[in-house]
Amino acid sequence: MKKITTIWIILLTLTLFSFLVGELKITNNFFIALLLVTTFFKGQLIINYFMNLSEVQLKYKLLPIIWLASVLIIIAFTYYLPDL
């Protein structure tokens, strides 16, 4: 249970980081990339430890992980791709 409490604290800390990026209006490419990476990390923690998929067969946890990665990669792609 101590592990889950640690994960909860990590999730809250990363959420505070996201909020500060927005509140301080940090819009440079590095911080947006970091924001997307931390969002992926947060999602992974929820999938593995809250949804408890870390101990199930790979095929069942692969779908939410692929979903999470795909959505965030496409968001990054639309953010970083130069204007046509």
Binding site: G22, T39, I46, M51, Y60
Partner: protein, 193 residues
């Protein structure tokens, strides 16, 4: 010793099919938002300034903590100490419901604020996506709270035990999905610019 992998995800498998479908549906909305933002960058950035990020931040904290309480309730039930379990686990579920209700109240305040500013679904593309995504998510939180209330009643009545808590795990999985969706919605709509 190596841990044995479970055959299926926790809870009923039917719930997982619903969860996978919901993830795909919201995923398409997220991608739609991101592509539309790229097409109308100035409009999206200007409209985003009209949102209060503090609402989004507090709501993220509420949902994560609510999910955490549900994890704790399942852990307590699985400990196999019947009397203390029922009381403590139901207390955690009740706290999770309370946080979920707070989430909805904050969303209603935020929607009212937008309505008073004359902002609605047809104001522009950004707000169209904002209302579709957040109202759709709002409905999921509402359904999640109804599910959690049923879990609370069942837990209080001693229906779940350490070797039979599939119903509790099913409802919990749905609630964590609602949390997972918000984890992406928050930076996408409120933060990234």
């Amino acid at each position: 010793m190596k841990k044995i992998k479970q055959l299926y995800p926790p809870g009923d498998f039917g719930v997982w099919i619903i969860i996978y479908i919901e993830l795909l549906t919201f995923g398409l909305f997220f991608i739609g938002f991101a592509y539309s933002r790229r097409e109308q960058l100035d409009l999206f950035n200007a409209s985003q300034l009209l949102l209060d990020q503090r609402f989004g931040f507090i709501n993220t904290i509420l949902l994560i903590t609510s999910s955490f309480f549900i994890v704790k309730s399942i852990h307590i039930i699985k400990q196999n100490k019947i009397h203390t379990n029922i009381h403590n686990a139901s207390l955690y579920i009740l706290s999770a419901i309370f946080l979920g209700v707070l989430f909805l109240i904050i969303k209603i305040i935020e929607f009212s604020d937008k309505y008073e500013q004359g902002i609605n679904l047809s104001t522009n593309t950004f707000f169209m996506f904002y209302f579709i995504l957040t109202v759709f998510h709002f409905m999921h939180v509402l359904l999640g709270i109804i599910i959690l209330y049923n879990l609370y009643r069942n837990t209080k009545n001693g229906l779940y035990t350490h070797d039979n808590c599939q119903g509790l795990e099913s409802g919990a999985s749905y609630w964590h999905m609602v949390d997972l969706l918000w984890i992406i919605l928050f930076p996408l709509v409120y933060i990234i610019r």
